[in-house]
């Protein structure tokens, strides 16, 4: 069965790029447009991995991570953060909140897939 990856980003075009990339590599993709939306969509379905933006309206990536780690069902789901180079400090914050990997925007599809393949369980 294909693995499901949730993509959380407020930019529709970035979601689309990640979505296309991951689908092409054979993953199923679920999209959410910010942390709050993502929490709302986590209703028991199996998510194998999440790719999450940091700077988002309503609920940013770090708060989302914290909420995720505190949740019952998804606290062990690995999360890849999508950051930009101007946010080194955020990277540290993300690390503390439990992010497992960082992909820096702008990223190449290969980089994204590499990070995903390292983290997703076979």
């Amino acid at each position: 069965m294909a693995k499901t990856i949730m993509v959380i980003d407020d930019s529709a075009s970035i979601r689309q790029v990640v979505n296309i990339t991951l689908k092409k590599a054979g993953y199923d993709v679920v999209e959410a447009c910010d942390g709050r939306d993502a929490l709302g969509k986590l209703t028991g379905q199996k998510i194998n991995l999440m790719v999450c933006d940091v700077n988002m309206p309503n609920m940013d990536g770090i708060s989302f991570l914290k909420a995720l780690k505190a949740s019952q069902g998804y606290r062990f789901t690995p999360v890849i953060m999508l950051t930009t180079e101007s946010q080194e400090s955020k990277k540290q914050e993300g690390k503390e909140a439990g992010a497992r990997a960082w992909v820096v925007k702008p990223f190449k599809p290969e980089q994204m897939l590499e990070a995903v393949s390292k983290l997703i369980l076979p």
Binding site: L39, A70, S71, T84, L113
Partner: protein, 725 residues
Amino acid sequence: MEIDLSEARQTFVTESIELLQEMEGALLRLEGSPGDQETINSLFRSAHTIKGSSGVLGIESVERFTHAVENLLCKVRENEIRIDKKIIEVLFECRDHIQVLVDCASSGAGLSQGLLSREAELVKRLGSCIGGRGDAPDKTTEKETSGAEAGEGRLAATNAWHISIRFNGDLFRNGMDPASFLNYLAGLGETISITPLFERMPAAPEMDPEECYLGLEVDFRSEFDKKTIEDVFEFAREGSVIHILPPHSRVEAYMDMIRSLPEDFLLLGEILIKGGALTQHELDEALDMQKGEDAGAEQHKRLLGEIMVNEGMIYPEVVDAALERQKLSQASRSKEARTMRIDANKLDSLINLVGELVISGANMGQHARRLKDGWLTESASIMSRLVEEIRDNAMRMRMVPIGETFSRFNRVIRDIGRDSGKDIELKISGGETELDKTVIEKINDPLMHLVRNAADHGIEMPEERASKGKAPKGTVRLNAYHDAGSIVIEVSDDGRGLSRERIFKKACALGLLSPAQTPSDSELFRLIFEPGFSTAEQVTKLSGRGVGMDVVKRNIEALRGAVDVESDGRSGTTVRIRLPLTLAIIDGFMVGVGGSSYVIPLDMVVECVEFSEAERRAANRRRYMNLRGEMLPYIRLRDFFGTQGQEARFENIVVVRCAGQKAGFVVDDLYGEVQTVIKPLGRVYRDVKGIAGATITGNGKVALILDAPALMEGAGGGATASNLN
């Protein structure tokens, strides 16, 4: 890997337009309250998102420039720079430039020299806003060169890398599998040997099945550099102990060396990183270790506290908070979840189908009544009620509030004010009034023209205003409201008003009036909508746009709307646009003249009265009647449409009201209310005055929909014209 991103590019363009719109709103708000952190955040986020998306999509022109803007915004957000008028001005211009760049990217056009120099200028100004604090983002340059160091001393005998890992006990709990690292590693080279270590594994009763006790010693041959190999374990790094020793390296050489020379720690570390012998991470770890030794037990305590917090002490509260948020998100889903984008064509075809449904429903109702079948009649009436609801809902889907269109003019007013040195304020009311989306799209240009006119020509310079005893700050008002089945949009200003004299002169010059005539204000002002009518002062920036008031009028009439203007020298000018609620379906009142049926929009119908014999006799001499002491101009549809055949014995007058005026239409028969789906007329009939469209009635015949405002102009105008003569 080849991935087609053209679709995502399209999304990017749409998204950027929205974000730029938000930026503009935020900037305008900032002008009012420069310190508002929330607004600054949203401004930053917009720029940030545009930069991020354009970067991912490889639209470099946008990314490069937006990055410069983001830098400035970042400093503003961190309170390093205070935002002031100058910065806001630069940001406005940058926003516009981003828009131009996005447009270029979407059309595939290259950047012209002019654009590039514009960009250079803006970047320079952004830099000067940031000041001497350095405009480059803080980057930790991690330059890694591959290859082992030709170190001194005893070298390891093997030509393979040696990797030694003691996994973090929480590895499983973090959702990882040690085997996946080895799989991945195998892709980089040849694994010579793997030695698992189980020393840490306790006896079975004490063993925690979720704990990872594994250690590995791996010998590995690879052409890749140290950084790449280390990256394999990137996600396991935390809490795990990992040593990666290149071929021929001295065991523990680097760490020992560093430890033995603590005073030069940073310097040494940096040199080693540059030489490619150590990675940044190993250095960081060593650094942490050193700190740990210095700070001692206290730090341990602090860490422990953090771990406790992370691992469960405050667990219940956090869960509560998360649940609370979840509830919140269900109540007010984020924008994207609450709304759905639907292709306008799909919606149009739905509306069309609903229209057909209305017609066939009416048809069925008629048959049911004719058959006098009680059950059938009841079913038909229930169905027609449902169809009506569906119709209303379908129409509502196309309705959008006009507020967003209105608020775009904030920027227009601001720019005009800045360019002309006037102090102008835009006041918006009735922004929640909903209009058909098609109407809103088409009303934008006429509104733009009217607003610019009001600000550019209406509002006087502050000194002039002061000398007239007005407040120095001019006001342009945009207002929208519902009125008798139509939407009224008002553009008004408190400026100098229209000049009667000048318009009169111009009208005479154009041959629209003779100097002997004395038209009323409203008749005279209406002339500004005539083609080619523009008084001398009206030729400024606007004339270059090639849109005159006649075009405004034409655009509005194309929407079955009407426009009129009101003005006096003191309180300024008001242009009132009257638009139908919707373009597709209306409630109508059906009347008959001769053998033909006509539909009058129901909202305009006030009453129906009998056209008495006495009035009919007087009809040849005048075209107005006495309606309970009021003068009512009327128009005989039979005459207007040149209907052939025997005149009816009895006639009726339908009194309609539109734009505060009343008029009567003389008809033969009154059929009553109908729901009508407006079908546009063919090209040949499109310009026929007095007809707004056609509809198909329940019995399949065509009925013409009357354009009441246009007809009334004929009725009212005729009456005044006869007075003038």
